[in-house]
């Protein structure tokens, strides 16, 4: 592991001519006492890995607030100019006849969009004109009026290194040999299903996929859906209802929150990955029961994710399972980012922590990330899945997964399990683990603040200030690296970050280039 060469790695950093003194000229240097790593790479040492959520120095928070404050002041100034009429308003406005009605566009969200997001929105929604593999092509897009409108110059930017796609195992590929079975299935089944699962949309290929997913995860049965977001938001209402309690992690994804709200159950939020907070809430729920009547809760459901995509942290599964068994609650595990990406053979966090999959009541995951397709699944005991087949909104009303996508998932799972007769799957998993460790270690050496567990392929690099976030994305694109930067509404206001997603398809040279360019950003 690169960690062990910490001593001479500091000298290696001079290859791009930069001198590093210990005050961390590119920002926010860690104190070495905070890093603890388990010895060895075995599964048993996973429990020793610490997740670091280091706080930045105080001046950084001050500068972040100051930056937002200044841009907000200018936002008020521009709004004033627009109201007076000195400047044309390019966004939606109320009609003249409606000026006395309740104002539509005066809330903070619209203010933020008009005055902050519009200035910098060239960093998002960049159109891609190739497949999202380890390198991709972007369409070149310029704006003449500060991002209110864009026009395409007609050129493409070729071979941009892709550090933003969730292509963890590299299955987003267009190699004709690998995709042969997909092409055959399109010949056989066509491209669309034209029905829902419960009507005439239940194809034999769906049954095959569900059987394969159940085998892969080591559970009794599984059910697949056409869209990952809809898997969460449409199935949680089928599992819990009024009179049930949902204990959901602070940083859960929007699909989980939406599903919880739609179900009508009582929702309580516990602090992120904090087992004391969860235990306190469980105790209180068991002792006090429902709010007014003090009856026992019909069901208590703990909702956690395998890897949290904005932080890169991994759930503490053994502890959650111990708590669940002690207080007789149920567990809903959303493995959207962790299935296929962690674990010695890609089985997700249950394998990472050596936990029996039967302990998790509802295992949910998506095929969008590691399998290069789209859709989601819910797996667990046979009774649970049979119940969902009848009662889930997604199963009854949503159109079924289309055959080429299904076949892509089937071939990806077969590749990972080794059933196609090659060792390609296990090679990719090992490559991903190695790339993750290398990339994280190099970034930490350079002194960036990185959140999350050392095993997770999601690497958020904290940038904090709004100006830096924007400049980072633009400069990286100029040097032909595509990154995703995330700012205020999706993250807390002082913690804007750039999120790298490491892929098994990245070569060591690509990662080195990304590291070099990143280090140049903060001299």
């Amino acid at each position: 592991m690169a960690r062990s060469t910490n001593g001479d790695s500091l000298k290696q950093l001079n290859h791009n001519g930069l001198k590093w003194d210990d005050s961390g000229k590119n920002g926010y240097h860690k104190k070495p006492a905070e890093q603890k790593h388990g010895a060895g790479n075995g599964v048993a040492s996973r429990q020793n890995k610490q997740e670091s959520f280091e706080q930045a120095p105080m001046y950084v928070a001050v500068c972040t607030y100051m930056g937002f404050g200044i841009v907000t002041l200018f936002g008020y100034f521009r709004d004033f100019l627009r109201a007076v009429g000195l400047e044309k308003c390019n966004l939606a406005q109320e009609r003249e006849e409606q000026k006395d009605f309740v104002p539509l566009y005066q809330d903070f969200e619209n203010f933020y969009t008009r005055n902050l997001y519009m200035r910098v929105r060239d960093n998002w929604n960049r159109p891609i004109c190739s497949l999202p593999g380890p390198v991709f092509d972007l369409m070149e897009r310029v704006s003449d009026d500060y991002n209110w409108t864009f026009r395409f110059t007609g050129r493409t930017i070729p071979n941009v290194i892709n550090m933003g796609s969730y292509n963890y195992l590299g299955f987003a590929e267009n190699n004709a040999d690998f995709l042969k079975t997909v092409a055959d299935k399109v010949q056989q089944y066509g491209a669309g299903v034209c029905s829902t699962r419960q009507e005439i949309g239940n194809l034999s290929i769906h049954e095959e996929l569900e059987q394969l997913v159940a085998n892969f995860l080591g559970v009794e049965s599984a059910m697949t859906f056409g869209m990952g977001f809809a898997t969460n938001s449409m199935n949680i209402p089928a599992l819990v209802g009024k009179g049930c309690l949902i204990l959901s992690d602070e940083l859960n994804h929007t699909s989980l929150i939406l599903g919880a709200r739609l179900s009508g159950a009582t929702i309580r939020v516990f602090k992120h990955n904090n087992m004391h907070s969860l235990e306190k809430m469980l105790k209180e729920a068991i002792c006090c029961g429902q709010p007014r009547t003090h009856r026992a809760w019909r069901k208590i459901l703990i909702m956690v994710e395998g890897i949290y995509s904005m932080e890169g942290s991994v759930v503490r599964l053994p502890e959650v399972i111990a708590l669940k068994k002690k207080y007789k609650a149920h567990l809903y595990l959303d493995e959207a980012h962790s299935i296929g990406a962690v674990g010695a053979t890609g089985r997700g966090v249950t394998e990472l922590f050596n936990v029996n999959p039967a302990d998790v009541d509802v295992m949910m995951g998506t095929f969008t990330k590691s399998f290069g397709a789209s859709g989601g699944y819910i797996a667990g005991k046979k009774e649970l899945v049979d119940y969902l087949r009848c009662h889930s909104h997604s199963a009854v009303y949503a159109s079924a997964m289309s055959p080429p996508v299904t076949e892509q998932i089937i071939r990806a799972i077969k590749c990972i399990m080794g059933k196609d007769g090659t060792t390609e799957g296990i090679r990719r998993i090992r490559q991903l683990a190695e790339n993750t460790r290398y990339f994280r270690a190099r970034l930490k050496e350079m002194g960036f603040i990185i959140y999350g567990n050392d095993d997770s392929p999601v690497v958020p690099v904290l940038l904090y200030m709004p100006g830096k976030v924007v400049a980072f994305a633009r400069e990286m694109l100029q040097r032909k690296i595509g990154v995703v930067v995330v700012g205020f509404p999706a993250t807390p206001i002082t913690e804007a970050r750039a999120r790298f997603c490491v892929s098994a398809a990245h070569t060591r040279a690509m990662l080195n280039q990304v590291n070099t360019v990143t280090s140049l950003q903060w001299p």
């Binding site: 930069l18 200018f74 400049a471």
Partner: protein, 80 residues
């Protein structure tokens, strides 16, 4: 880092100033407004300190000299 000359160093410093204050995202005329306001504020601070600090320092020194150092000078030393 390698800065080929002083001008490159200055432009890097300006870039860091733009990033830290958040001015980087604004349009050029807004940047000019902010820079001129900031520059005039700093110029006023400098001018005020140039005008007032010597006088205040002298007054302060006299004040403390009166409190601590107001010993009468001995006539013996003066006569010698």
């Amino acid at each position: 880092m390698n800065f080929k000359n002083f001008r490159e160093y200055l432009s890097w410093l300006y870039f860091q100033y733009l990033l830290i204050t958040g001015i980087y995202v604004l349009e050029p005329w807004e940047k000019s407004i902010f820079n001129s306001v900031l520059f005039s504020a700093i110029a006023m601070v400098v001018y005020t300190s140039y005008v007032f600090i010597p006088i205040h320092m002298r007054l302060a020194l006299e004040f403390f000299h009166e409190i601590f150092g107001g010993q009468p000078e001995s006539t013996m030393t003066l006569m010698n």
